[in-house]
């Protein structure tokens, strides 16, 4: 896993209180990790803070899985 993926994973574990082995690339925040719509807003804010990127609302709406978040951040930082 890339450094970004590791950091994303840690944020997800901390915020959603889920086991590390559930936080895989294809895991959906809402369907697999028990998040609700407010949790996902807070997750996006945590990603912004951690990586110093801005994630506009329309982009945030398309970040549904752990992999989506990693991809968005990798692209934003490229």
């Amino acid at each position: 896993m890339s450094d970004i993926a590791e950091r994303v994973k840690k944020i997800v574990i901390d915020h959603l209180g889920v086991d590390a082995d559930k936080v895989v690339e294809g895991a959906s925040f809402i369907d697999d990790l028990g998040a609700d719509s407010l949790d996902t807003v807070e997750l996006v804010m945590a990603f912004e803070e951690e990586f110093g990127v801005e994630i506009p609302d329309d982009a945030a709406d398309s970040i549904l899985t752990v992999g989506d978040a990693v991809k968005f951040i990798e692209k934003a930082q490229a």
Binding site: D14, L16, G17, L38, V41, M45, E48
Partner: protein, 420 residues
């Protein structure tokens, strides 16, 4: 008229997590006051508070993880956590876990708070100033709204009846119990989970109440001596924190399921001082009228009262309340015991009326009245027994609990032994 009884109690207090542990420590004359060490107090005039003993859950300590998942805890201010814990305990104590649609729909929640999420609002203010609006958490609002104790409790326990929250400063807990009882009397619910929760012990909380000249500032070196209702050396209240919650139930509903009945809520009175934003009216008229109304509702006379759990905050207002009680009981003064449990646990603000109503209930159950600590030199002479220093065994069949709040808002509850 439908009758309302108390079938469950729960409490998080500066003397412990749980009703019984708190009650035993109150009766033993223990104090929950201490120097505040969790945040900077050097520049505050009041450096002491009655704080919840935090620990692993053993020996009466409060372990937050037993009541709410850690990831949920960070989304709320502590008053919500305390209220959830007290409600869990009360429902467990009552043995009431509604499963059917009808039982869920006929069970409501009315848990208030005087202030709600004080510290969380301060923190969000710093975030807004330093990092901008995009960094305000989506949990900022739902973690600070006063009615979110009632909301969270209803979600956790699937209580789908009336969902309400009282906000009347230091009368909140008493008003919540009184108003919830009326919802049952009206038939809007058969069971109500009612009470108050507060978490004011913070720099902003101590600074704010100190600015109102409401807090004790002369006993910082001897915290356990600071809360001294009716004593000539009292100089303000000691801030407390926690929650008290009762399960109120329509009498026949409680009997039908064989529930344990602590006492009956027979009277409730309310009044306004219409005088000053923080001081009670000097003639004690608001207090007198609200006690009178509660007795009238109960169909009792003042001479029926055995015990009064006073508002008694350890401020100058103590003697105003005492004067109003003397006027109320008249020649029966010598048969009444009246104590302030704030001498032991401090002033829990919006939770005070609820935890104190529970103490009044337990005084009936156990035929014992809790003490007023630190009453070394009574400020005024009275024929009323103020229960100095030590708990006293005596018959208690009728108890009255007083709560008075900023804004001149008064509430009295009358509780009576239930004889099957």
């Amino acid at each position: 008229m439908r009758r309302v009884v108390i079938t469950g109690t729960g409490m998080v207090s500066p003397l412990g997590c749980g009703t019984e542990v708190t009650w035993q420590r109150i009766l033993a004359g223990q104090s929950g006051a201490r120097l505040v060490t969790e945040f900077e107090v050097d520049d505050l005039p009041a450096k002491i508070a009655c704080r919840i003993p935090v620990g692993d859950g053993s020996d009466g300590t409060f372990n937050a993880d037993q009541w709410m998942e850690p990831k949920e805890q960070r989304k709320v201010d502590p008053y919500i956590l305390y209220g959830m814990a007290a409600a869990d305990m009360a429902l467990e104590d009552a043995g009431w876990h509604p499963q059917t649609d009808e039982d869920q729909i006929m069970t409501g929640v009315m848990i208030g708070s005087g202030i709600g999420g004080l510290e969380g609002i301060v923190e969000a203010g710093y975030t807004l100033r330093d990092k901008g609006p995009r960094r305000i958490s989506p949990f900022f609002i739902p973690g600070r709204l006063i009615n979110l104790v009632s909301g969270q409790v209803s979600i956790k326990h699937k209580l789908r009846g009336p969902n309400h929250a009282v906000v009347t400063a230091c009368s909140t807990g008493a008003h919540a119990i009184g108003d919830a009882a009326r919802l049952i009397i009206f038939g809007d619910a058969d069971v109500m989970v009612a009470g108050g929760a507060e978490s004011p012990v913070s720099r902003i909380g101590l600074a704010g109440f100190a600015a109102c000249k409401a807090l004790s500032t002369q006993h910082n070196d001897n915290p356990e001596k600071a809360s001294r209702p009716y004593d000539r050396d009292r100089d303000g209240f000691v801030m407390g924190e926690g929650a008290g919650v009762v399960v109120l139930e329509e009498l026949e509903h409680a009997k039908a399921r064989g529930a344990k009945i602590y006492a009956e809520v027979v009277g409730y009175g309310l009044s306004g001082d219409a005088y000053h934003i923080t001081a009670p009216s000097e003639d004690g008229d608001g207090a007198f009228r609200c006690m009178t109304m509660a007795l009238k509702r109960a169909g009792l006379s003042a001479s029926d009262i055995d015990y009064i759990n006073a508002h008694g905050t350890s401020t100058m207002a103590d003697t105003i309340e005492l004067g109003a009680v003397e006027r109320l009981v008249g020649n029966a003064a010598s048969k009444v015991s009246m104590s302030s449990t704030k001498s032991a646990i401090g002033h829990l603000l919006g939770a005070a009326g609820a935890v104190e109503a529970i103490f009044a209930t337990l005084a009936i159950r156990d035929n014992i009245v809790p003490p007023t600590l630190n009453l070394d030199n009574p400020d005024v002479e009275t024929a009323i027994d103020l229960v100095p220093h030590q708990a006293r065994k005596r018959d208690v069949n009728v108890a009255l609990s007083n709560s008075f709040g900023f804004g001149g808002t008064n509430a009295s509850l009358v509780l009576k032994r239930y004889d099957a």
